[in-house]
């Protein structure tokens, strides 16, 4: 009888804890949906065709859009990706295929530390390295700051993915008399490609919404600019500027910018998942 009582008590305890953890999960997810929903409700009325095609208008003039900062965001993040991807991939290859001993563990440690650096610090570094030398704000300096943020994410996610490539494949290639560098390029990279693409897309999505490092690097711009050496508008920075402004139509624009930004990040995330799912399916098919 005593054992039955203990069993019941454990069962009740187990069920209670399961309920609590479900509740916590629900709370976490509902916060996300609340943010998405609220952004949607507040922003959707200001998202129209003009928002994607027109330049911003001065205060008080109705209409206009944020076409320049949508394009600006794509350019700044794109240039950051062009800087971070080659360096990050090469570092990840070094760490997973060659790196052993003190130097490799130092690199790994530094990249972990870099991953923990606050975004605004990356901005200050880019400011000191680029802005103070060029004597002006520029899209390029913004890209440098975002690249600094992307780099550790790409390094660590790619290294993990390279490690999931089974050693038996490397051995199979070596045993065929294929040199190591060729094995890495043709076997390891190719086998890992699905995961690498996904990891990179997630890294891009991660930095795409950053405003802090861009505030004093790429700054902002009310007009079209395609010159990386000049200040360039980006969605997160416009979102910040518009939301702290006292004008109602600007605040409305900020909500719209928030919605578009969240939408872009969401699309990137979903496409990463879809890509991986398709790739995985093909591999098993």
């Amino acid at each position: 009888m005593k054992t039955d009582f203990r069993y019941m008590r454990r069962k009740v305890f187990g069920t209670t804890m399961l309920g609590l953890s479900l509740l916590a999960a629900l709370a976490a997810v509902s916060m996300l949906f609340w943010i998405l929903g609220y952004t949607f409700i507040k922003g959707v009325s200001a998202v129209n065709f003009d928002f994607f095609t027109k330049l911003p208008t001065p205060v008080g003039v109705p209409g206009g859009g944020l076409a320049n900062s949508i394009v600006g965001s794509i350019i700044v993040v794109g240039m950051a990706a062009l800087m971070a991807i080659p360096v990050g991939m090469a570092t990840a290859i070094y760490l997973s295929e060659y790196g052993r001993g003190f130097f490799a563990s130092t690199v790994r440690f530094v990249s972990d530390v870099l991953a923990g650096v606050p975004a605004i610090v990356a901005g200050i570094v880019a400011y000191a390295l680029v802005v103070t030398r060029m004597h002006r704000f520029s899209a390029f300096s913004g890209s440098v700051s975002l690249a600094l943020l992307m780099l550790p994410i790409i390094i660590r996610s790619s290294e993990e993915i390279f490690r999931t490539v089974p050693d038996t494949l490397r051995e199979a290639s070596f045993a065929l008399g294929v040199p190591k560098w060729k094995t890495i390029l043709s076997i390891v990279l190719k086998t890992a490609s699905g995961g690498l693409v996904t990891g990179t897309i997630l890294a891009i999505a991660r930095v795409g919404g950053e405003a802090a490092p861009l505030l004093f690097t790429s700054f902002s711009n009310s007009f079209w600019n395609f010159n990386p050496g000049q200040p360039m508008a980006t969605l997160p920075v416009d979102l910040f500027n518009y939301s702290i402004s006292p004008y109602q139509d600007w605040q409305q624009k900020a909500w719209a910018a928030a919605l578009v930004l969240v939408g872009m990040v969401l699309i990137l995330n979903i496409s990463a998942r879809l890509y991986l799912a398709r790739k995985g399916f093909k591999r098993n098919g």
């Binding site: 052993r100 089974p166 038996t168 494949l169 051995e171 199979a172 290639s173 070596f174 045993a175 065929l176 008399g177 294929v178 040199p179 060729k182 094995t183 043709s186 076997i187 190719k190 086998t191 490609s193 093909k282 591999r283 098919g285």
Partner: protein, 252 residues
């Protein structure tokens, strides 16, 4: 028969652990040599030393000489990459490249090292898939992924892949241990056919297999070569007590 491979005073280590002790052994050309012995006796390490795969494992190294056609595989200035093209290897678990089709897998060793046009790829793939006795089973699905095949077919695909590099020797590390009896029989028949062109060294856990296909058998125990001779002699009249005990199933 001339000796294809002569191993002289071979020692191998994993870090501080010595896995092979002073192995001396000659492998005749166009024969099948079976390596038998209990798990952990150094069989796999031994054949991985022959094509210099042993040193790819971190902390692993070896000493001694492995003479292939009069040339020391470990001689100074010998590139292990080039040596491995002369000594093909088949592994315990079939390991076709997952990103490649059946056809591409068959010629992987060639296309990874030089460019082939489409016609050459087709021709070469067919030639070696035939040689590995797989052609009839896959000729209608050459563009499917290599890993879509059954385990036994995958292993023959890996054999085709190894043969396509035109090696002189085929080293096989328990090539049938992960396969069902029918696939195993196919691999055994294949090896018997391949003996005409290649020198084959096969590690096996399966003593019946060694008795069925090999001309000579080497018995390893605790990293040492205990006895080496014709398969007939080893299985019917071994000179060492330990060989006899192992063959008759008294240990291992």
């Amino acid at each position: 028969m001339a000796d294809k491979i002569a191993v002289e005073g071979l020692n191998a280590w994993f870090g501080k652990t010595q896995a092979l002790h002073e192995i001396n052994m000659a492998v005749p050309e166009n024969s099948i040599t079976a390596i038998i012995g209990p798990s952990g006796c150094g069989k796999s390490t031994f054949i991985r030393c022959i094509n210099r795969m042993h040193e790819e494992i971190r902390g692993a190294y070896s000493s001694g000489r492995v003479i292939l056609d009069g040339e020391d595989v470990y001689g100074s200035g010998v590139d292990p990459v080039l040596i491995r093209r002369r000594l093909g290897m088949v592994f315990q678990k079939p390991n076709p490249f997952p990103t490649m089709s059946i056809k591409e897998n068959a010629v992987a060793g060639i296309i990874l090292n030089k460019r082939l046009n489409r016609h050459e790829i087709e021709e070469t793939a067919e030639k070696y898939l035939r040689r590995a006795a797989l052609w009839d089973e896959v000729k209608d699905q050459l563009n499917k992924p290599g890993i879509s095949l059954s385990g036994g077919q995958q292993q023959r695909l890996c054999i085709a892949r190894a043969l396509a590099v035109e090696p002189e020797v085929l080293l096989a590390d328990e090539p049938a241990s992960a396969l069902d009896p029918i696939s195993t029989a196919k691999i055994e028949d294949l090896f018997t056919d391949l003996k005409e062109r290649y020198t084959i060294v096969v590690v096996t856990h399966n003593m019946q297999q060694a008795a069925r296909i090999s001309d000579r058998t080497a018995f390893f125990l605790s990293g040492r070569l205990i006895e080496y001779g014709t398969t007939d002699k080893i299985f019917t009249n071994p000179s060492d007590k330990r060989t006899e005990d192992y063959i008759t199933g008294r240990f291992g």
